[in-house]
C-alpha cells in the first residue's frame, strides 16, 4: 500500500506538483495520466524518495519515505523513465548487483535473479552486455531489477514508451499479472493504455489532480458528456451569454462568422437529451438569436481527457 498526503513539490519558484493526495491499496494498479510536463515523473520521483516533497508526505507500507527511508525503500521497486542500467555490465551481473544493493540475502540471490529474468522473458540475454541490448530488452531488464527483493510497491514511469506494439501488449499483460500481488503505480500519457491496465486512474494536469476514479467511473462521468455544434444568426457574445446560464452546460465556445452569424460549441454535462437541446435552442431564441443549425455529437474519452487537461491552461492565462 502506498499513501500520498498533500504532496507539493517546488523547483525554486515553479510548482511541479500541487497538493496531491491519493491512496493505492495492495493488489491495485493505479495509473497516473497526463500530458507531457503534467508532473507525472516528479510525482513518481517524490513517491520513491528520489526527490523530497516540499510539503506533505509519502507512506509506503506504513513507513514514511523520509523518516524511515531504509524500511520504506525496501518495499519499493522503481523503474524510472530511463532504466538505470550500467552498459558495461552483463544482464546477469547487473541484476546480481541490484539484488545485493536491495539487500537480498546471499543464498537467495541467484534464485531471485533467475526468477526475475524469467518473469520478464529476458533469460536468453543473461550473458549479453547491456550496451548491446535493444530498447525493449533494456526496459525488461529495468523491470526485472525493480522486481528484485520482492518489493510490495512497484513504481513504473512510462513503462511502454519506445516499445513496439507487440512488446507493448506483452508488457501490459505482465503489468496486469504483477498487479495481483503488488501495488503498482504507472504513469502514461496514453489513455487507452491506462484504461486497459489500471484499476484506478488519476488524471494530472499542470501538477494538479483533475479527476480520479476507476476507468469505468471516469468513462461514465466523462463519456456522458456531449457536444452541440450550433450555427446561429446574431452576436456571438449574446448567444454565448444566453447559453452559459443554462443548467447542464459546462463549456461554451463562440466564434463569430460571416454575415452576422456565429458558431457555438457547447459542451453538455449529462448527454444531449432532446430536452437539453430544446432548452438550448429556446434560450437562444429568447436572446434574439435564431438557430440555423444544431447538431449533437458524443465525446470520446480521448476528447474528454484532452479537455480536462487543457482547461486549466486557459484558466492560468486568464489569471
Amino acid at each position: 500500500m502506498i499513501q500520498a498526503e498533500h504532496l507539493t513539490r517546488r523547483y525554486g519558484a515553479r510548482v511541479a506538483v500541487e497538493d496531491l493526495s491519493f491512496t493505492v491499496p495492495t493488489g491495485q494498479i493505479c495509473g497516473l495520466l497526463g500530458p507531457n510536463g503534467a508532473g507525472k515523473t516528479t510525482t513518481l520521483n517524490v513517491l520513491t524518495g528520489y526527490l523530497a516533497a516540499s510539503e506533505g508526505r509519502v507512506i509506503v507500507s506504513g513507513h514514511d519515505i523520509l523518516e524511515e527511508p531504509m524500511a520504506a525503500r525496501r518495499q519499493l521497486g522503481y523503474l524510472p523513465e530511463q532504466p538505470p542500467l550500467y552498459p558495461e555490465m552483463t544482464v546477469e551481473e547487473y541484476l546480481r548487483f541490484v539484488a545485493e544493493l536491495r539487500r537480498v540475502p546471499r543464498a537467495e540471490r541467484s534464485a531471485q535473479v533467475r526468477r526475475a529474468m524469467n518473469r520478464v522473458a529476458a533469460a536468453d540475454m543473461a550473458r549479453r552486455l547491456i550496451r548491446n541490448l535493444s530498447k525493449g530488452y533494456r526496459q525488461r531488464v529495468g523491470l526485472a531489477a525493480a522486481l528484485l527483493g520482492d518489493p510490495e510497491v512497484l513504481i513504473l514511469d512510462e513503462p511502454t514508451v519506445g516499445l513496439d506494439p507487440a512488446q507493448m501488449i506483452e508488457f501490459r499483460t505482465l503489468i496486469r499479472q504483477l498487479g495481483r500481488k503488488h501495488t503498482v503505480i504507472l504513469s502514461s500519457h496514453i489513455l487507452s493504455e491506462v484504461s486497459a491496465v489500471c484499476d484506478q486512474v488519476l488524471i494530472l494536469s499542470r501538477g494538479r489532480l483533475m479527476a480520479q476514479g476507476t476507468p469505468d467511473q471516469l468513462a461514465d462521468r466523462l463519456a456522458g458528456r456531449a457536444r452541440l455544434q450550433i450555427l446561429v444568426l446574431g452576436q456571438a457574445d449574446t448567444a454565448a451569454a444566453a447559453v452559459k446560464a443554462l443548467e447542464g452546460v459546462c463549456e461554451v465556445k463562440a466564434d463569430p462568422e460571416s454575415e452576422g452569424r456565429a458558431r457555438l460549441t457547447v459542451t453538455l454535462d449529462a448527454g444531449a437529451a432532446p430536452q437539453q437541446q430544446a432548452a438550448v435552442s429556446l434560450a437562444l431564441a429568447a436572446a434574439g438569436c435564431a438557430v440555423l443549425r444544431l447538431e449533437a455529437e458524443a465525446m470520446s474519452l480521448e476528447e474528454v481527457f484532452l479537455q480536462l487537461t487543457e482547461t486549466p491552461q486557459e484558466g492560468d492565462q486568464e489569471e
Partner: protein, 287 residues
C-alpha cells in the same frame, strides 16, 4: 556498501581505464626509482616518492571524475538513491573502491625498497613510513576528486576542477611565499571570508538579519585583531594558506619524520570531503 564497492572495482578493471592508470603510475614511479635510487644511488626511497607526487595531479582526476558525475549523467543515481542503502555507505563504497585502485600501484612501488635492500643498507621503516604518508596523501586527493565529481554531471568538468584544485594546492608553497607580506592584505582576505561566512549563514537560516550579524561580528573581531595585534593576523593568513597546501605535510615523511599531525591532517581532509560529497548528494533530493 560492499555491492557498490565491488561494482566500482569491477567497472575500473573491466575496461582499459584501471589497468592504464595503474600501469602509467607504476611507469612514472619506476622511472624515478631507476634514476634516483639505481643510477644515482640515493639510499632514500622517500625522494623518489616525492618526485612522483606530480603524477597524482593527473592520476586522481582521471580516477575520480566518473564516480558520481557519470551516475548522474546516465540516471543510474535513481537506482542508487532509491535503493535501501544510505548515502554514507554509498559514498564510502565508491571512495574505498577508488582508494583500493590507488593502492595497487602504491603496493607495487612498495617493492622498490626491498629491491634496494638486496644491494645495500636501506632504512625500511623510513621508506615504508614515507610510503604510508604518500598513500594517505593520495587518499585525501581521491576524497577531493569524489567531492568534485558529485558537483556536476559532466566527468570532464569534474576532472578539470579536481585538477585545478590539486594544482593550486601543489603550488601553494610558492603562492604562500608570494603573499608573505603586509597585514592589510590579510585583513582583506579574512574580510572576504567573513562575508562568505555571513552569506552562507544568511542563506542557511533564510534570514538576512542573521547573515548580516554574523558578518558584522566577524568584521569587528578582525578589526580589533588588526588594531591590537596585526602580527597575529599575518601569521594566521600564512597558516591558512599553509593548510591549503595538501602536498606540504608529506615532506615530513621524506626527512624520516613520522609526522602524526600530517597523518591527522590527511585523515581530516578525507573525512571532510567525503562528508561534503554525501551532503551534496543529499542536498540534490531537496533542490
Amino acid at each position: 556498501m560492499s555491492a557498490i564497492f565491488k561494482r566500482e572495482w569491477k567497472c575500473m578493471f573491466s575496461g582499459m581505464l584501471g589497468y592504464a592508470l595503474c600501469a602509467a603510475y607504476v611507469l612514472v614511479g619506476g622511472l624515478y626509482f631507476w634514476v634516483y635510487n639505481l643510477l644515482n644511488l640515493y639510499p632514500d626511497f622517500g625522494y623518489t616518492l616525492y618526485g612522483t607526487t606530480f603524477a597524482m595531479l593527473v592520476f586522481i582526476p582521471i580516477l575520480t571524475m566518473r564516480s558520481l558525475a557519470e551516475e548522474r549523467r546516465s540516471h543510474t543515481d535513481q537506482l542508487l538513491l532509491t535503493a535501501p542503502v544510505g548515502v554514507p555507505s554509498l559514498v564510502a563504497g565508491k571512495y574505498l573502491a577508488m582508494a583500493a585502485v590507488f593502492t595497487v600501484p602504491v603496493a607495487i612501488l612498495g617493492l622498490c625498497p626491498l629491491v634496494m635492500r638486496l644491494y645495500g643498507t636501506v632504512s625500511l621503516p623510513k621508506a615504508y613510513g614515507a610510503l604510508l604518508g604518500y598513500w594517505l596523501l593520495g587518499c585525501a586527493g581521491i576524497a577531493i576528486g569524489l567531492f568534485f565529481s558529485g558537483l556536476t554531471d559532466s566527468p570532464i568538468i569534474a576532472a578539470l576542477s579536481t585538477f585545478g584544485v590539486l594544482l593550486l594546492s601543489y603550488l601553494m608553497p610558492g603562492i604562500q611565499s608570494l603573499f608573505a607580506v603586509g597585514s592589510l592584505l590579510a585583513l582583506g582576505v579574512f574580510g572576504l571570508l567573513a562575508a562568505l561566512a555571513g552569506l552562507l549563514a544568511g542563506i542557511r537560516s533564510r534570514s538576512l538579519m542573521l547573515g548580516m550579524l554574523v558578518f558584522l561580528a566577524l568584521c569587528a573581531a578582525l578589526l580589533a585583531l588588526y588594531a591590537l595585534r596585526s602580527a597575529t593576523l599575518t601569521s594566521a593568513f600564512t597558516a591558512l594558506l599553509g593548510a591549503l597546501g595538501l602536498f606540504t605535510p608529506f615532506e615530513n615523511f621524506i626527512y624520516g619524520i613520522f609526522s602524526i599531525p600530517a597523518v591527522i591532517y590527511y585523515l581530516s581532509i578525507t573525512a571532510l570531503f567525503l562528508f561534503l560529497a554525501g551532503q551534496g548528494l543529499e542536498k540534490r533530493r531537496w533542490s
